[in-house]
Symmetry: C2
Subunit: 492 residues, 2 copies
C-alpha cells in the first residue's frame, strides 16, 4: 500500500509529483526492492488521476531504474545502482598539470586565472552603469521570432538538423550569407564561406592554419583584447602598428614590412575595437595595396559590418580583393544575439579549404539546429528588420551618448572621437596622472565602470585611455552613465 | 499601377509572394526609383488581402532597402545598392596558401582532400545497405520532445540562452551530467565538468593543452579513425599499443613506458571503435595502475557509456580515479543525436581549468540554446526514456546482426567477436588475399558497403579487417545487409 499526497493545484505536473514521491519512498527504503507497485489502473482509481498519467510516471520510474519491468504488467521495485559520493576532501592529482601543459597552454592559463578576477564581459551589476562590456542588450533580442523559426525547423527538418551537419556549415545559410556579402559589394559564393562557432573561433582557426610558434602577426595597436591571449597560446611575436585617427599608420606598416616578414595582418576597419575608428575607402585601398605588394594575407574583421548608421557607405576591404589576399570575418553575435555561436569566414576557395580541413577534424561540424533556425529567421526577413531597428535605436543612443559627453565631461581633461556606428567610444584622459589599473576603483565609487585601455595594448604605455560601450544601455542609462563619468573625472 | 498575381493556395505565404513580386518589378525596372507604391490600405483592398499582410510585406521591402520610408506614409521606391557580381572566371590568389600553411595544417589538408573522395561518414546512399558510418538512425531522433524543450527554453529563458553562455558550459546541464556520471560511480561535480562542442572538440582541446610537436601520444592500435588526423595536425609521434581480444596489450604498454615518455594515453574501454571490444574491470584497474605508476594522464573516451545492453555492468576507469589521473570524455552524439554538438570533459579541477582556459579564448562559449534545451529534455526524463528505448532496439538489432552473420558468412573465411553494446562489429577475413582498399569496390557490386580496416590503423598491416556499424539500420535492413555481405565474401 502506497501513500501519496498529490497537489492538483501545484505548478509541478501530477506525473512528476508521483515520480518524485515514489522515488523518495524507494530511496528511503519505505518501499523495499522486490515489492510490487499497484497496477496503473488501481492507482489511477485510488488517486483520482488519469491512468495515462500513472502510466507516464511508471514509464519514467522504469527509465530511471527504480522499477524492473515496463508498465503494463506488474511493476516491481528493483535494486538500484548507488550514486558515487562526491569526495569531500578534494584530493590532489598525482599529475603535475603545470609541467604537462604546453608553453602556450601555460601562458593562456595564467592569463585566464588573472582575467577571472576582472572579467569585463561578465559584469552585469545592479545599480551600476556598466560601460565596460561589448555585449548585446538582451532586452532587444528578437526571441519570439527566433523561437518560431526554431519550431519550424525542428518540425519540418528535424532529420537533417539533429544529425551531423555539413563540415562547411548549413548550405542555405552559407548561401544567404554570400548573398548578403554581395550587397556589401563582396564577390563571393557559398563555396567560399565557412561557418564557424563565432568569430573568436574563426580567428583561432586562422592562427592554426597559418602560424607556428615564433611567427609574427601584425595587429593594430590598440587592438581587440581577446586577440592577445591567442598570441600567447600560439607563441606569436606581435607587431603592433600604431592607430592614427584615420586607422593603422600605413607608413609605419610599409616600413615595417620592408624589413620584416609576418604570417598575416589583422585589422578591424569598422568602428575598430577599442578606438571606434572607421577607416576611409582610400585607407582601405592603400592597406590592401601594401598587403598585396608583400603578399601578406589580410584578415579583415567585419564583425559589425551591418552596424554603420552614421555617414556615407564605406565598402569592406574584401570588396576590392581581386587577388584573393583577404580573409574576411563576419558574425551574427554583435547585431542579433551571440547565443547561437555563429560566425563565418569568407575567403578564396584555396584558402577556405585549408581552414575547413582544420575545422572538420577538430569539431566535425557546427550546431546545425541553430544554423537552420537562423537561416529561417533571416529568410523571413527578421534579420533585415532587426538591423534596421538596431540602426534606429543605436543612432539615437549614440547621439545621446555623444551629446551627454559634451555636456558632462570637464573641459581639457578628456578627448574622444565620434564613431560612425557600432557601440564604442574611446576616451583619453589629458593632464591627469593616475595608475590606469586604478581607474575603475575610482569610477566605481561614482556608480560607473569602464573598460581600461591597457586591455587593448600589446605594449603598455603611459597614456590613460579607456573604452566605453553603450551596447547594453538605453538612452536614460546612457545619460546617467555619462553624468556619473563626468563627475568622477572632474574629481580626479 | 502595380500588377501582382497572388496565389492564395500556394505554400508560399501571401506576404512573401507580394515581396517577391514587387522586388522583381523593381529589379527589372518596371517600377522605377522614385515611384510611389500604393498605400497599404488601397493595395489591401485591390488584392483582397488583409492590410496587415501588406504592411508586413512593405516592412520587409523597406528592410531590404527597396523602399525609402517605413510603411505608414507613402512608400517610395529607392535606388538600390547593387549586388556584387560573382566573378565568373575564378581568378587565383597571389598568396601561396600552401607555403603559408603550418606543417600540421598542410598535412591535415592533404588528408582532408583524400578523405573527401571516400568520406565514409557522408554516405547515405539509396538501395545500398551502408554498414560503414557510425552515425545515428535519424528515424529514432526524439525530435518532438526536443522541440518542446526548445520552446520552453526560448519562451522562459531567452535572455539567458541567446546571450553568451558561461565559458565552462550551462551550469544546470553540467550538474545533470555530474549526477549522471555519479550513477556510473564517478565521483564528480559540475565544477569538474567542461562542456565542449562534441567529443572531437574535447580531444582537440586535450591535444592543445598537453602536446607540442614531436611529443608522443599512446593509442590503441587500431583506434578511432578521426584521432589520426589530429596526430598529423599536432605533429605527434603516435605509439600504437596492439589491441588483444581483451583490450590494449598491457605488457606491451608497460614495457613501452619503461623506456619512453608520452604526453598522454588515449583509450576507449567500451565497445572500442573499431573493434567493439569492452575491457574487463580488472583490465581497467591494471591500465589505470600502469598510468599512475608512470604519472601518465589517461584519456578515457566514454562516448557510448550509456549503450551497454549485454552482460554485466563494467564501471568506467574514471570511477577508480582516486589520484586524478583520468580525463573522461562523454557525449550525447551517439545515443541521442549529434546535431546539438554537445560533449563534455570530466577531470580534476586543476586539469579542467587548464583546458577551460584554452576553450574560453578560442570560442568564448558553446551554444547555450542547445545546452539549455538539452537540459530541459533530460530534466523531463526524456533522455532516460530514450536510452532505455535504444537499449531495447539495439540489443534486438545486434542479436539480429550476430545471428545473420552466423547464418550468412562462409565458414573459415570470416572471424568476428560479439560486442557488449554499441553499434560496431569488427570482422577479419581469413585466407583471402585482396587489396583492402579494393574491398568496397567488390562489396558495392553486391549492394553493401563497409568501413575498411585501414582507416583505423596507425601503421598499415597485411591483415584484412573491416568494421560494420548497425547504427542507422533496422532489423530488416541488417538481415539484408548481412546476406549481401555473405554473398560478396563467398565469391571472393
Amino acid at each position: 500500500m502506497i501513500l501519496l499526497n498529490l497537489k492538483p493545484d501545484s505548478a509541478v505536473p501530477l506525473f512528476r509529483q508521483i515520480v518524485t514521491q515514489i522515488k523518495e519512498l524507494i530511496e528511503n527504503d519505505v518501499v523495499k526492492p522486490g515489492s510490487k507497485l499497484p497496477s496503473t489502473r488501481s492507482l489511477s482509481e485510488k488517486l483520482g488521476v488519469n491512468r495515462s498519467t500513472i502510466y507516464k510516471a511508471y514509464e519514467e520510474l522504469w527509465a530511471l531504474g527504480y522499477i524492473e519491468s515496463r508498465p503494463g504488467s506488474y511493476s516491481v521495485v528493483r535494486k538500484r545502482v548507488e550514486l558515487a559520493e562526491v569526495n569531500g576532501n578534494n584530493t590532489g592529482s598525482i599529475i603535475h598539470w603545470c609541467k604537462k601543459s604546453s608553453p602556450g597552454a601555460q601562458k593562456i592559463f595564467d592569463m585566464f586565472a588573472k582575467s577571472r578576477s576582472v572579467n569585463p564581459e561578465s559584469m552585469r551589476l545592479k545599480d551600476i552603469i556598466n560601460l565596460s562590456p561589448l555585449l548585446m542588450d538582451n532586452r532587444l533580442f528578437p526571441a519570439g521570432e527566433f523561437r518560431k523559426s526554431m519550431n519550424r525547423v525542428l518540425k519540418d527538418n528535424s532529420d537533417e538538423v539533429l544529425d551531423y551537419g555539413e563540415h562547411q556549415g548549413y548550405k542555405p545559410l552559407r548561401e544567404y550569407i554570400a548573398n548578403r556579402l554581395r550587397s556589401h559589394s563582396i564577390s563571393t559564393t557559398a563555396e567560399e564561406i565557412l561557418i564557424t562557432n563565432g568569430s573568436q573561433h574563426a580567428i583561432d582557426l586562422i592562427f592554426r592554419m597559418m602560424t607556428v610558434p615564433g611567427d609574427t602577426v601584425i595587429l593594430e595597436e590598440p587592438t581587440y583584447a581577446l586577440a592577445i591571449p591567442l598570441l600567447k597560446l600560439f607563441g606569436i611575436k606581435p607587431a603592433g602598428i600604431p592607430m592614427l585617427d584615420t586607422g593603422m599608420d600605413l607608413n609605419y606598416l610599409d616600413k615595417y614590412l620592408k624589413k620584416n616578414r609576418a604570417a598575416f595582418l589583422y585589422t578591424i576597419p569598422n568602428f575598430q575595437n577599442p578606438t571606434g575608428t572607421t577607416t576611409s575607402q582610400m585607407h582601405r585601398e592603400q592597406l590592401l595595396g601594401i598587403c598585396e605588394k608583400y603578399k601578406l594575407p589580410l584578415v579583415e574583421d567585419g564583425f559589425e559590418e551591418e552596424m554603420k548608421y552614421f555617414g556615407k557607405v564605406v565598402l569592406p576591404i574584401k570588396s576590392m580583393d581581386k587577388n584573393k589576399c583577404v580573409i574576411y570575418l563576419g558574425s551574427f553575435s554583435k547585431v542579433l544575439f551571440p547565443g547561437a555561436r555563429i560566425g563565418w569566414i569568407a575567403a578564396g576557395k584555396e584558402c577556405i579549404d585549408r581552414i575547413l580541413a582544420i575545422k572538420r577534424f577538430t569539431d566535425l561540424s557546427s550546431n546545425a539546429i541553430s544554423q537552420a533556425a537562423l537561416y529561417d529567421f533571416c529568410l523571413n526577413g527578421h534579420y533585415d528588420i532587426h538591423i534596421k531597428r538596431m540602426h534606429r535605436l543605436f543612432s539615437k543612443r549614440m547621439r545621446t551618448a555623444l551629446k551627454a559627453l559634451k555636456k558632462y565631461m570637464p573641459e581639457n581633461k578628456v578627448i574622444w572621437s565620434e564613431p560612425a556606428g557600432g557601440y564604442l567610444i574611446w576616451l583619453k584622459l589629458n593632464n591627469i596622472k593616475i595608475d590606469s589599473a586604478e581607474i575603475n576603483k575610482i569610477f566605481l565609487k561614482h556608480g560607473v565602470i569602464v573598460s581600461p585601455g591597457k586591455f587593448y595594448y600589446l605594449k603598455q604605455n603611459n597614456d590613460i585611455y579607456f573604452r566605453i560601450s553603450i551596447s547594453t544601455l538605453n538612452e536614460k542609462e546612457i545619460e546617467t552613465g555619462m553624468k556619473r563619468l563626468g563627475e568622477a573625472i572632474t574629481k580626479l
